[in-house]
Amino acid sequence: MSLNNADVRKVARLARLAMSETEIETARSQLSGIFALIAEMQAVDTRGIEPMSHAQDVSQRLREDVVTETNQRELFQSLAPKYKGLSQVEAGLYLVPQVIE
């Protein structure tokens, strides 16, 4: 299969990756090479084969619905990135650009 620049642009947007037109072009050519490698898969007859999502066929464990973590909000929030030198944490919340006018 061959990808065009519009396909790559769409994927970049879904993946939340800003890309210049030059980067789109490079990505298109490299991704096409990788999809040529992957294409080998398509010819395999897999009718009746159960998909394997995990190495061990074990089911998820359940645990008691009890609190197991201690509150470390301040420690974790001390790692928050800054914007123009200013902390992006306020009143225990993370700050991001305004979404709703």
């Binding site: 490299q30 090479g33 998909p51 394997m52 999502s53 470390q72 928050a80």
Partner: protein, 484 residues
């Protein structure tokens, strides 16, 4: 001291022939002088390591030492370690000082081992040469113009160059075994689920598995005894009885059935690698093993299947890096979407972005069945090949990598060429089986060759037995690179 096994180091520490502080300082001095050339370590904190060594010495003095108490061990920078910068080789985490310990780190801390530093790696473990690290490539100590392999290249280099007693690695498609082969050391990827992934930065969760890297199989067994075990914080951690992985080391190999998959000796394998591997098989026959020809007919599909499944899981796992709560945030942006897009574009390197793009594409509407589901079905076929093969043999052997260490920049801008470095290792991750690599000779340009040993599920003790008996009969594993 630099050539001693972990067991010998432990005995020397317990007999007070050397202190943990002295041993730690010895390695710190070597790191200070050699790391500027080799770039194996990303972070060392001498005062933190020495403080840990002093605590270990007190524990040794009190007669409460475990096997690894006081022994300096390097940790791959994929493991979160409290108070340590944990970058995963990425600019995205350039300022991330972990607020907690990974399970593996906690196990080593509990055992009294000393954390010597964090080792360099391909960014988010995506690479086979260490060249995708944001912090520059690691050099192969056997030839500094060559790559150490990846992604656990920093750990492999540090062991080969005697910059630590042992190290940890992680293996999603060969990231312990391939660098072990290229640097002439021993490395083991356990059965999926044996070592907890808690606090290990996720790449492809259904394939990622941590394991030990060292100079010998005997050392690996000791390390795995510390690393393995159930952890309720990892939903895929397996509940099993505790095992002593060293229990079978001394057993003779009489009657061991070795399966040789014809697909691993076909076109594409370097003749020097083939020669060294064949000589190793001949040695095994001398030790009493028998050889069976086997076939893994679907293993040729392992690379394509892996490059659907691993990027798909990666694109999901790496969506957490959004510049909001930790890590890198772009300095300028106009709105929320712009902040996400710029932070991710600037924080991730080229290979990581490529894999996020592949993963996003194969999971997107209209392509899911053709790519992701088809890959998961072939994954089962690949796993079934191994199940069939293990009806005829106890372990499978072959080359770890198709060539010895290649030159820096040699594979350049062609990702597909790089992906083929893992052609013999990937199927093992897809099946969830244990695999290891041990040194078995030298190829062209005096570069190390690795022998891959694949075991059945939970066959680690048997594999370590096979590796140890070979290492008693040969000395490839004790060779050290000269003139670093």
């Amino acid at each position: 001291m630099l050539e001693s096994s972990l067991q010998q180091l432990g005995s020397a520490l317990r007999a007070k022939q050397i202190s943990s502080v002295e041993l730690t300082q010895l390695y710190l001095d070597r790191i200070a002088s050699l790391n500027p050339k080799l770039n194996a370590y990303l972070t060392v904190q001498p005062e933190v390591s020495l403080a840990q060594a002093r605590v270990a010495d007190a524990r040794l003095a009190a007669g409460k030492a475990d096997a690894l108490t006081g022994i300096p061990i390097a940790q791959k920078d994929i493991f979160c370690a409290k108070g340590w910068l944990t970058t995963c080789g990425s600019k995205m985490l350039h300022n991330f000082v972990s607020p907690y310990d990974a399970h593996v780190i906690a196990r080593f801390n509990d055992a009294g081992a000393v954390n010597l530093g964090k080792t360099n790696m391909d960014e988010f473990a995506m690479g086979s040469s260490n060249e995708t690290s944001h912090y520059g490539p690691v050099k192969n100590p056997w030839d500094q113009a060559r790559v150490p392999g990846g992604s656990s290249g920093g750990s492999a280099c540090a062991i080969a160059a005697r910059l630590c007693a042992a190290a940890t690695g992680t293996d999603t498609g060969g990231s312990i075994r391939q660098p072990a082969a290229l640097c002439g050391i021993s490395g083991l990827k356990p059965t999926y689920g044996v070592v907890s992934r808690y606090g290990m930065i996720a790449f492809a969760s259904s394939l990622d598995q941590a394991g030990p890297m060292a100079r010998s199989a005997e050392d690996l067994a000791l390390l795995l005894n510390t690393m393995a075990g159930f952890d309720e914080r990892d939903s895929t951690s397996l509940q099993r009885d505790k095992e002593d992985y060293a229990r079978d080391l001394a057993k003779p190999l009489n009657g061991l059935r070795i399966g040789l998959p014809k697909e691993f000796f076909a076109a594409g394998l370097g003749s020097d690698v083939a020669q060294a591997v064949e000589a190793a098989i001949a040695e095994y026959k001398k030790l009493g093993a028998t050889v069976v020809d086997i076939s893994l007919p679907n293993s040729r599909l392992a690379v394509p299947v892996y490059y659907v499944l691993a990027p798909a899981e990666a694109s999901s796992n790496l969506s957490r890096f959004d510049g909001v709560r930790y890590g890198y945030r772009a300095p300028d942006y106009t709105d929320l979407a712009d902040m996400y897009e710029k932070s991710r574009a600037q924080g991730f390197g080229a290979e990581v972005k490529r894999r996020i793009m592949i993963g996003t594409y194969v999971l997107s509407h209209g392509y899911y069945d053709a790519y992701y589901l088809q890959a998961q079905k072939i994954r089962r076929l690949i796993a079934q090949d191994f199940t069939e093969a293990f009806k005829q043999c106890d372990v499978i052997m072959g080359p770890t990598a198709p060539s010895t260490a290649f030159k820096l920049d040699e594979k350049g801008d062609d990702p597909v060429q790089m992906y083929l470095s893992d052609i013999y290792t990937i199927a093992v991750n897809l099946a969830g089986l244990p695999g290891m690599s041990i040194p078995c000779g030298f190829g062209a340009n005096n570069l190390p060759v690795g022998l891959q040993i694949i075991g059945n599920y939970f066959g680690e003790a048997r594999m370590l037995n096979a590796a140890h008996q070979y290492q008693l009969a040969t000395d490839w594993h004790s060779r050290a690179p000269q003139g670093i």
